[in-house]
C-alpha cells in the first residue's frame, strides 16, 4: 500500500495550460473517424445527405474530439513533460467526461485550450499512481464553447 507522492515540479504544473491549438475540422477526417468507430449515421458519412439536413453540412460524431488526444496534439511530448517533472513512466487512461455545448461540423475552426486542472497521488490497481486531470475547452470560430473534455489519466 503506497500512495504516489508528488514532487514540487509536478505541483507547479497544476493550473498550467499548453499553448492554444488550432484545430480545423475537415470533411474527410469526420468520415474516416465515423468509419473507424463503426458509426454508420449518414449525418457523419454522407456529404449530400448532410447538405440537405437542418445542420447543412457533415456533422462530427460527438466522440470525434478526444481529450485532447487528437490530430495536432503531441501527446508524447506532453507525457514527457510530466515525466521530466517526476511522473512515473507508465500511462493508462482512467476516465473521461464531456460536456457537448454546440455541434461541431466540417469547416469549423476550433481553438483548444488544454489545462492541467489537477494532479494527485493515489493508490490504484496499478500500484502507487499519479492521477492527472486534463481539462480541454474547444471554442469555435463563432466564439461559442463547443465542447469541454475532462480526462483523468493514470501514471504508474
Amino acid at each position: 500500500m503506497a500512495v504516489f507522492v508528488l514532487t514540487d515540479g509536478l505541483k507547479k504544473l497544476i493550473g498550467t495550460a499548453e499553448p492554444p491549438l488550432l484545430y480545423k475540422i475537415e470533411e474527410g477526417a469526420i468520415q474516416r473517424f465515423a468509419r473507424a468507430v463503426g458509426d454508420t449515421n449518414p449525418t457523419h458519412n454522407d456529404v449530400e445527405f448532410a447538405a440537405q439536413s437542418e445542420f447543412g453540412r457533415l456533422k462530427a460524431p460527438p466522440s470525434f474530439i478526444g481529450w485532447p488526444v487528437t490530430s495536432g496534439f503531441d501527446m508524447f511530448q506532453f507525457v514527457e513533460k510530466l515525466i521530466a517533472a517526476g511522473a512515473p513512466r507508465g500511462n493508462l487512461d482512467g476516465s473521461v467526461e464531456y460536456e457537448f455545448k454546440a455541434p461541431i461540423g466540417a469547416g469549423d475552426m476550433l481553438v483548444a485550450v488544454i489545462k492541467i486542472a489537477n494532479i494527485e497521488g493515489k493508490e490504484t490497481r496499478m500500484g502507487p499512481t499519479m492521477v492527472t486531470t486534463v481539462e480541454t475547452t474547444y471554442t469555435n470560430q463563432r466564439g461559442q464553447v463547443a465542447l469541454i473534455a475532462r480526462n483523468q489519466f493514470l501514471s504508474f
Partner: protein, 155 residues
C-alpha cells in the same frame, strides 16, 4: 435510420437499444489513424507487456466512442447528447484476425444502458442514463452515464 425517440416514449428503467461491436487489431490501427491516438499500447505487444497489461488493449477512447454511438443511435436526429462520461474498469483485448471476412477468436462487445431519471428543466426534456460496455463474459469493462435532451410530443 431509426425512428425518432420522444421524451414521452421513455420511463425510468427503459432500456436503451443495445449496440453490438467488435474490435480487431486492424480496427484499432484504423482508430489510431482516424483519431490521432498513436499510443503503442494498442498495437505493440512488448510495449503493452512492459505496462503490465499483458498484450495490446482496445483504446478506452474507442469504447467511449461506442457509447456515444449507442446514445446518438437511440436519441435520433432530434435528440441532443449533452453530457457523457465513462470510466475504464477492465482491459479489453482485440480479436485475432485471420481473414478479412472472418475476424474470430475473440469477443463481441455489447453497449447497453437504461434510463435512470427524466425531468424537465429550463424547458428542456432531459433524460439521464446509465451506460456501459459488456465484454463477451458479460463483465462491464467500461461504465458511465449520459445526459440527453429529447424532443417532446407536447411541443
Amino acid at each position: 435510420m431509426a425512428k425518432q425517440l420522444y421524451y414521452e416514449d421513455v420511463e425510468v428503467g427503459s432500456e436503451i437499444t443495445p449496440l453490438k461491436k467488435i474490435a480487431t487489431t486492424r480496427m484499432l490501427v484504423q482508430y489510431a489513424g482516424a483519431s490521432g491516438d498513436f499510443n503503442p499500447l494498442h498495437y505493440e505487444e512488448d510495449f503493452a507487456k512492459s505496462l503490465g497489461v499483458g498484450k495490446p488493449i482496445v483504446h478506452g477512447l474507442l469504447k467511449r466512442a461506442w457509447l456515444v454511438n449507442l446514445m446518438t443511435d437511440w436519441i435520433g436526429e432530434k435528440g441532443g447528447l449533452k453530457k457523457l462520461s465513462c470510466r475504464y474498469r477492465g482491459m479489453d483485448y482485440p480479436r485475432k484476425m485471420k481473414t478479412f471476412d472472418d475476424p474470430h477468436d475473440g469477443e463481441t462487445w455489447l453497449c447497453k444502458g437504461k434510463v435512470t431519471k427524466k425531468y424537465v428543466e429550463s424547458e428542456e426534456s432531459l433524460v439521464e442514463c446509465e451506460i456501459w460496455v459488456e465484454n463477451g463474459k458479460g463483465e462491464k469493462t467500461t461504465t458511465g452515464s449520459a445526459l440527453t435532451a429529447l424532443p417532446s410530443r407536447a411541443k
